[in-house]
């Protein structure tokens, strides 16, 4: 496939690995994005890197950082009559406190998965006797697709489509993680696809305020190795900055159309992250003009009755903060595995525990 195969070329991988050997110095590099976590595991990048260079996973798996309480509330709506729970397929098996979308579907709830959020708007249009609730999970990459769904529902004057919005924004979460000081990283591989929307300028505060080197990075093995190389070069030069090694897709400025679309439908809000708690300004909620599409507002009386989740032995929170390797969780590959997952990090195709189970055991 064009723009994929070239960036997996084995000969070129050898070349850059030699270069990394020359630059190698002790460095802990966080791959922020879950898609990076999975790519690194799948292509065995950790074993290719020179020994003093370590990779650690970060908070960039949207399924994983969705808070348990938010998930429990969304799942509770499945018990309402004539309700369609619409979601990306990634959420299917993520365990809530008492059930999951998969279990609810087996018990007869109307659970459906979209290719695009606009599919859920189509279902609402065709089935006016149903309430379609879409679970809006994801970072800036995904937010424009759900904003478009809300706008389309508004234009069609639908009163049976709502968005359960748990979207999160990346720069604020990274700021909170670094300010917490719990994990000492020397560099960040920043998520290339989030950055197609927000532009690389959104991270300028990271080298400035935290002295951490950054590289906006694509998702093929050569892209990721180039990201590591950029960070090692910055460390050697002693000058942290934001490099962009994914220039074929990412620009310095935000995509203006995306910005306008997001500003029209959403406004910034605080967000609750699994493992990180409430981070001010790290999420969005639906803006006033579109308030009638806000599931959390429309179903507030039902959601208020959902009890807070009971404590869990799962340590995904620490995995997402980069302070625990999956293999060091006492439940890893024992009580917790992909067929009996105890936490989202073992379920999500991009979860660090799932990646470690599949490729690094």
């Amino acid at each position: 496939m064009k723009y994929i195969d070239e960036f997996r070329n084995k000969d070129l991988v050898q070349g850059i690995i030699r270069r990394l050997g020359d630059l190698a110095a002790p460095a802990l590099i966080m791959e922020v994005c879950g898609t990076h976590t999975m790519a690194a595991a799948r292509f065995g990048l950790k074993s290719l890197l020179p020994a003093p260079v370590q990779l650690v996973s970060g908070p960039g798996c949207p399924v994983c950082v969705t808070d348990q309480y938010d998930l429990d509330k969304f799942l509770a709506l499945g018990e309402q009559p004539h309700t369609v729970l619409a979601s990306f397929g990634d959420m299917l098996r993520v365990p809530g406190s008492h059930t999951s979308l998969e279990k609810q579907r087996a018990q007869g709830a109307d659970v459906r998965f979209v290719y695009a959020p606009l599919d859920a708007v189509d279902w609402a249009r065709r089935e006016p006797d149903k309430q379609v609730v879409f679970f809006g999970v994801g970072f800036e990459t995904t937010m424009p697709t759900t904003a478009l769904a809300v706008k389309t529902a508004a234009a069609a004057v639908l009163d049976n489509f709502t968005l359960f919005c748990v979207h999160k924004t990346m720069p604020g979460a990274l700021g909170a993680l670094l300010a917490g000081g719990e994990v000492k990283v020397s560099g960040l591989l920043l998520p290339g696809h989030v950055t197609t929307i927000i532009g690389s300028q959104a991270y300028e505060f990271i080298p400035r305020e935290f002295g951490v080197s950054c590289a906006v990075t694509g998702f093929e093995p050569l892209d990721m190795l180039l990201g590591v190389e950029a960070i090692l070069r910055q460390l050697r030069g002693g000058r942290p900055r934001v490099d962009n090694v994914y220039r074929r897709a990412v620009q310095v400025q935000a995509n203006p159309r995306a910005r306008a679309l997001l500003d029209e439908v959403f406004q910034p809000s605080d967000a609750l992250w699994r493992g990180l708690g409430v981070i001010p300004g790290s999420g969005v909620k639906i803006r006033g003009d579109y308030a009638k599409f806000d599931a959390q507002a429309r179903f507030a009386p039902i959601l208020a009755q959902v009890p807070p989740p009971p404590p869990s032995a799962c340590r995904c929170g620490e995995v997402l903060r980069g302070v625990l390797h999956p293999q060091d969780c006492p439940l890893f590959d024992k009580a917790c595995n992909p067929s009996q997952p105890l936490g989202p990090c073992m379920v999500s195709s991009e979860g660090a525990c799932a990646a470690a189970y599949r490729y690094e055991r």
Binding site: Y3, G34, D119, V137, T141, T142, T145, R248, A249
Partner: protein, 73 residues
């Protein structure tokens, strides 16, 4: 979840388009990328084109990688 696949635009009708990869074609939306044309490669995420793949920068990155691979040690 932030996966986005490079696909080639093969049909355009306003903001609606059809994109194709490996013989599979998909309905996609071009709302974020007003300038794209037939034959362009775009990154598709959940039915929306989020970025145009810039052929010049792609080639620049590959030639940098080739030069690293060609260096004699």
């Amino acid at each position: 979840m932030c996966l986005a696949i490079p696909m080639k635009i093969i049909q355009i009708d306003g903001v609606q388009a059809v994109a194709e990869v490996d013989g599979v074609s998909r309905q996609v939306r071009l709302d974020l990328l007003p300038g794209v044309g037939l034959g362009d490669y775009v990154l598709i995420h959940a039915g929306l084109a989020i970025a145009k793949v810039d052929a010049v920068y792609a080639e620049e990155t590959l030639s940098l990688l080739r030069s690293l691979a060609d260096e004699v040690y």
